[in-house]
Amino acid sequence: MTDLSRLIFVLLCALTGNVVCAADKINFSHEILPILSDRCFHCHGPDPTHREADLRLDLVEAATENRDGTFAIAPGKPELSEVLARITSSDSDLLMPPADSHRKPLTKKQIATIRQWIAEGAQWGKHWSFEPPVKVALHGQEANLNPIDALVQRKLTEARLTFSEPASRRTLIRRLSFDLTGLPPSVEDVEAFVNDNSPDADLKLVNRLLKSKHYGERMAMWWLDLARYSDTDGFQQDSTRTNWPWRDWVIQSFNENKPFDQFTIEQFAGDLLPDATDEQKLATCFHRNHMTNGEGGRDPEESRVDYVIDRVNTTGTVWLGLTLGCCQCHSHKFDPISQTDYYSLYAFFNSIDEDGKAGNRAKPYLKYQSPLAERAVLESQQVVDQRKPLEAAALQQAKQEFEPWLMEQMQRVENGFTAWHLPELRSVKSVEGTVLTAEKTGVIQASGPTPRQDDYRLVAATALPRITGLRLEVFPHESHTGGKLSRGDSGEFILTDVKLQVRREGSSQLKDIDFVSAIADVEKDVKGRNYGKIKDTLDDDPRNGWTTETHDAQQKHVAVFELAEPLQLEESEELIFVMLHRSTEGDANIGRFRVMLTDQPGPAVRSLEPMPLEVLAAANLKEPEKLEPKLKQRLLDQFLVDHDLYQQRKTELDQAQAQLAQVKKGAGELNVMVLAERQEPRQTFVLERGVWDKHGKQVTRSVPAAVLPLPAEQTKDRLDLAEWLVSRQNPLTARVVVNHLWQISFGTGLVRTPGDFGLQGELPTHPAVLDWLAVELMEHDWDLQHILRLIVTSRTYQQQSSLTAELLERDPENRLLARGARFRLPSWMIRDAALQASGLLNPALGGPPVMPYQPPGVWTEMFMGRFRYEPSQGAAQYRRSLYAFWRRSSAPTFLFDSAQRRVCEVQPRRTNTPLQALTLLNDQSMLESSRELARTAIQQKRTTEERLDFIAQHILSRTLKQQESEVLKQEQQQSFTFYQRNQDEALKLISSGQPPVVNKVSPDELAAYMVVASMVFNLDEAITHE
């Protein structure tokens, strides 16, 4: 063999996961079954509906039976085996797989493998993952090694590779800390570890990390993703649920190192355990974490069926590593699971005392009060307590400024006060033909045609310094029907909507201006969506609007609209006010009206009363002492609306108080969705083609025999099911679980399709390691920490992750494990690491969900204003990402590549896109972390080099090399020069985020170091598991 072809050969053997190379006997489950599965089973497999020629190749009896003298497979006799003839046929009509199946023809090598296998006697077996795992014997020297290393070493030797050097101590502690706690090590921990020369330093570290309460959080994030945990229902209503005590149960369970079999049993059947505790019942929320659909018009039974299906599929993916979902509609095409098996599993979950509803009607519930909420209440109370005096001080200051202002106003209104001003009308037009004529008084009269519906469009300018509100007066007129308000049949009007826009002269673009409230003197009293209320003119919905019908129609009526924010027009800008009359039956266009503007703030445009300054003018007072207290209060209220500092402090306090109210609710008794059986079990049927109301044959609870058969008396309920899953004889669960633990430590599993251990899944790269660990897990009472400890103390795990060109070429995916794993950290770890590095992290455990920063408007846009995202205030802002409120329809924006939590997901996503770069550069949490780390660096260190090293040590767990330091120093200096000259910009940069802490560092310096810290946070090294 040439070198190249030998290389290719080695690669083929290694990378296709073959355990045995050419010289050995063919291994059925690893070499033959994958070919048969991929190319043949679609038509000749377990699913009867697509079966061709009545031939099954998945069963030995069927494949080798005498079919009128021919044999699909004749053991020992390749020349008599029809299969071989068909896969090698030159006749395209005979060739298998047929061209129209879009399945690839077999390669020469695959054909040779099949020929050899038949020649060797066509030894049948089960798919590898259905065979019980066994520990392979370790020989001689191997017995002294960590078995992982012994078994990995075997494959390396075959491939003529060796282990890489061990990773540096710094890299190792970082790797271990991220893998076991999801957080980077502290600077002190790094130094201590690096200087610990004791032989068991690694083990001590690992044990310390496993005991850390952050271990439970790290593992919980793994579990929450596959449990599709969310704080909302999903779908149209996407109502909030309060299942977070279950999340805390998960953290607690991991921190107790609860054996995985018990962990499983409690989640499946905690309610069925004898004398079940509240915590055991709480555990069953696992199977209620699916989405629930409260969409109007949906049949709840259809939804309920969906939920049951979700539970079966999730069980399949998480415990069995099987794509059971396929069997919802038909028997599995590749794996030996029938549709009957599927619905027999379904039957275990089919008698939950639920009715398919969502929102707050998603019974069964457990009433539960969380012991972890009290801390959140105290934290929120602290924020309120901190902000109260600030608000009070601002109020005090504002009150002092109020007195001179009041004097000024009294002088100003001596000669009267005009609250409402006529705009300078530039054009008054209708869309559908009504003729509109403006009179000198600003009153506009309709005449001419009377279209059924019409929009009036006023273009106007104003000399007012700002606009806060708009008043619409509707007048009766003799030209109207019955001298009333319109020229329509009834003389009444219906104004369906109003709109306000701004246009700059000469520009093609319009800007929408929002109103926030509207009030009218009278409105028709109606229920539901109908014509009556003035506020309905703000929603752009023609099915509702304002009418004064039922009130005196021969009298003027008036409405006032408040702008969401005061509007300051530039000189070249004009206002466009649009009045829509688009009611269903129409014929109710306003006949006579006037529009006026005001600049008076707040309360003045929320009422029809005379404005405070109007009253003041009317009172005609000379001395402020004589001012009526009530009027003075109104004037003060109005003054405060325009007082920026006070408003800011008040908003901050309001936010804190809203948060306090919210967490107090969370501290009370909550409804947590759990499992509970209904009195009368439901009958279960196979659902034909998976359609919820197409009942096929009836089935009873049982487990798939191909995995592990159980007699009917042992499959009575969910408890039996759970015990079956974690039975010592179940070939799948332990393998699937240790594969997840491997994935946690290496970024990918030994089986790289963690959700599919079936025939279409990938073969394990190291079957012997997988099986060894699986057996070890079961032999050690399902102790997850024991397995993790084995993994992370192995030489395999502790190798350095850097690549040589040779390794990259020979094994780009690291399937042979000749080096450590290098991969980007999950986005939640990146955020948590930034909080930890900057010292902002609030390490509290559990409690109600929090709202980390996310860009404004995300929820509002999706739900057209139905939900608003209010970032958490105070310490709650800096909780770990695990506690971030998870809205199913809009996952936290800062978590890129995360599981979507709609259905169970077990495969990590790891893409590399510019949007991720932008997130890490501009996310508020990252910026605030940069600023705080910069501040500490400046306060604790003196020279630039020291400060830069300080930043690097906190983010990268190491000091900088000379060359690196130069690069950062240059940036620091350039930024500093800029911010020195532009102090305003420096202030802007450092002032985002939470209300100010006292800043003892000069803004320009802080800004410059903040820039550098942000750079380091964005380095590949900072976000990578090395």
Binding site: I8, L11, L12, T107, Q236, E295, G297, D299, P300, T323, S508, Q509, L510, D512, R529, D540, D541, P542, R543, S583, T584, E585, G755, Q760, G761, S802, L803, A805, L808, P812, R824, G857, E861, M864, S889, S890, R902, T911, T913, P914, L915, Q916, A917, L918, T919, L921, N922, E964, V967, E971, E985, L987, K988, L989, V1011, S1014, M1015, L1019, D1020, E1026
Partner: protein, 485 residues
């Protein structure tokens, strides 16, 4: 230069190697592996799509999908049934209903027929019929191909829209735009392949537009649609923080790049090289994307063509102008969403409002593309997730009357790239209740759109959890050859 949403070249290699990508066989792997690896480490490529695509000569390069969310009423807008007048107020015959399930909103009321609330008119040489609420559509009737026999299986919004856009009723599959981006890649180096524009509306819509509608499902996330928001920040996290001028940002990126280069030398991990390029792409996007939202360089004639609402940024009409601009810039797939077509009540004031939002601009877009010679290479699709039932919801004869959801027939129109102009395909029964001829399932529409893009939907698969998934799923589907030029 590379595509913004490109994964690492190494990841591409992985894809080849795992035999996941359409038509890439394990058999050819050894040599292509080495070859690809060399390329991966030496010369990173932009997203050129899959190597074995197109399967057939493409008939269109781009797609603009004008998604009308909520289920527009075919009975008022497209599907003219003059004979319904004589059935007004009578109960829908059981023979027609044929056991069709209803949503729980109308399941307990009598199915009394409500004839169309609009008058119909014939337009153009093709003589297409259109309801009076779509006068501008009349002007382009000869450009359009109406499919009046669309069918779906879903009766509620979220499942139906999910199926309409991803081929499956449950979230988790890639959307048709993501499939296109994955298969065909992009021509533009500074913009995503797949952009999503949502009409900004005041009215709170009852149907949220979930991001899985343009999600990448199990495809790598760089293929997901990128929502272009009408906000200060058109794409999330695009804006640098206040107080950070471009010069400082540039300096930072230079430094990051330099330091990452050093790390690349130490670790040899090609992923770092990709990261360096993605940070550069992020920088370019920071200037290329905000300028997309700025329509001020469009001449006055554009706004006259697209109507007064097109002057209002974020409106459907402005988004139609945007769509044309994006196509001009080489974006492969542009998807607009206009919410609030769910007209259960007061149909005649509610539905007309949505028509007024969309009629002129939709027509203008088709005219504009044609004028610019872009219609031949752009497929425009207009449609919602289902249709509406012939029975009135609420009182059939009162102004309050509306219509419930209806999956058995609805109308979608196509225009441009490879589709016959001035054609009406398929027909419904006299109640616009069942398809009478040439049913077109949502799957068939997907197969047809992929075909027009040069993709064979049968061969275009992605392996996920052990199965080869395709947009059109496992049920049979067909390309609607009859509507192709």
């Amino acid at each position: 230069m590379n595509n913004p949403f490109e994964n690492t070249a190494l990841e591409e290699t992985r894809r080849y190697f795992l035999g996941r990508g359409a038509g890439v066989s394990l058999g050819a792997m050894a040599f292509s592996l080495l070859e690809n690896l060399r390329r991966a480490t030496a010369e990173p490529k932009q997203n050129l799509g899959l190597p074995d695509l197109p399967h057939n000569p493409p008939r269109t390069k781009n797609v603009i999908f004008l998604t009308q969310s909520g289920g527009p009423s075919q009975i008022e807008l497209f599907d003219h049934k003059p004979n319904l007048m004589k059935w007004a107020g009578k109960e829908l015959p059981d023979s027609i209903r044929g056991g069709q399930r209803l949503t729980t909103m109308t399941a307990n009321q009598k199915q009394l027929i409500m004839p169309s609330r609009t008058k119909f008119q014939r337009y153009g040489e093709s003589g297409a019929t259109l309801g009076e609420w779509l006068p501008y559509h009349g002007e382009i009737a000869d450009e359009l191909c109406f499919i009046k026999s669309m069918v779906t299986d879903e009766i509620n919004h979220a499942p139906a829209m999910t199926k309409f856009l991803t081929g499956h009723q449950l979230p988790g599959r890639p959307s048709i735009g993501a499939w296109s981006s994955y298969g065909l890649g992009s021509e533009n180096q500074n913009l995503p392949d797949y952009l999503v524009l949502i009409s900004k509306m005041k009215r709170p819509s009852d149907q949220p537009l979930y991001d899985h509608y343009w999600g990448s499902g199990f495809l790598p996330s760089q293929y997901q649609g990128v929502k272009l928001r009408n906000a200060k920040e058109p794409v999330l996290y695009l804006r640098d923080p206040n107080g950070m001028p471009r010069s400082v940002r540039r300096g930072m990126l230079n430094g990051i790049s330099e330091l990452n280069q050093m790390r690349l030398k130490q670790t040899g991990d090609p992923e770092i090289e990709t990261r360096i390029r993605q940070y550069e792409m992020a920088w370019r996007m920071q200037s290329s994307i905000p300028e997309l939202n700025d329509l001020s360089d469009e001449p006055e004639s554009t706004f006259e063509l697209y109507g007064p609402d097109s002057r209002r940024p974020g409106s459907y009409a402005a988004n139609c102008v945007q769509a044309r601009r994006l196509i001009e810039r080489g974006v492969r797939f542009v998807q607009l969403f206009h919410p609030d077509w769910d007209h259960h009540s007061r149909l005649s004031s509610w539905c007309i409002a949505r028509c007024r939002d969309t009629d002129q601009a939709s027509a203008a877009l088709v005219k504009d593309l044609k004028q610019r010679g872009l219609l031949d290479e752009t497929l425009v699709i207009w449609g919602g997730e289902f249709g509406r039932g012939v029975a009135g919801q609420g009182k059939w004869d009162s102004p309050e009357g509306g219509r419930d959801h209806h999956p058995r027939c609805f109308t979608t129109w196509l225009a441009g790239g490879g589709v016959k102009a001035g054609l009406t395909y398929g027909a419904t029964d006299e109640f616009s209740y069942n398809v009478a001829e040439n049913p077109v399932h949502v799957r068939d529409l997907h197969a047809t759109v992929l075909h027009l893009l040069g993709i064979d939907h049968e061969r275009f698969t992605y392996r996920h959890q052990g199965l080869d998934f395709k947009l059109t799923g496992v049920e049979p589907s067909r390309i609607i050859k009859e509507i192709l030029t």
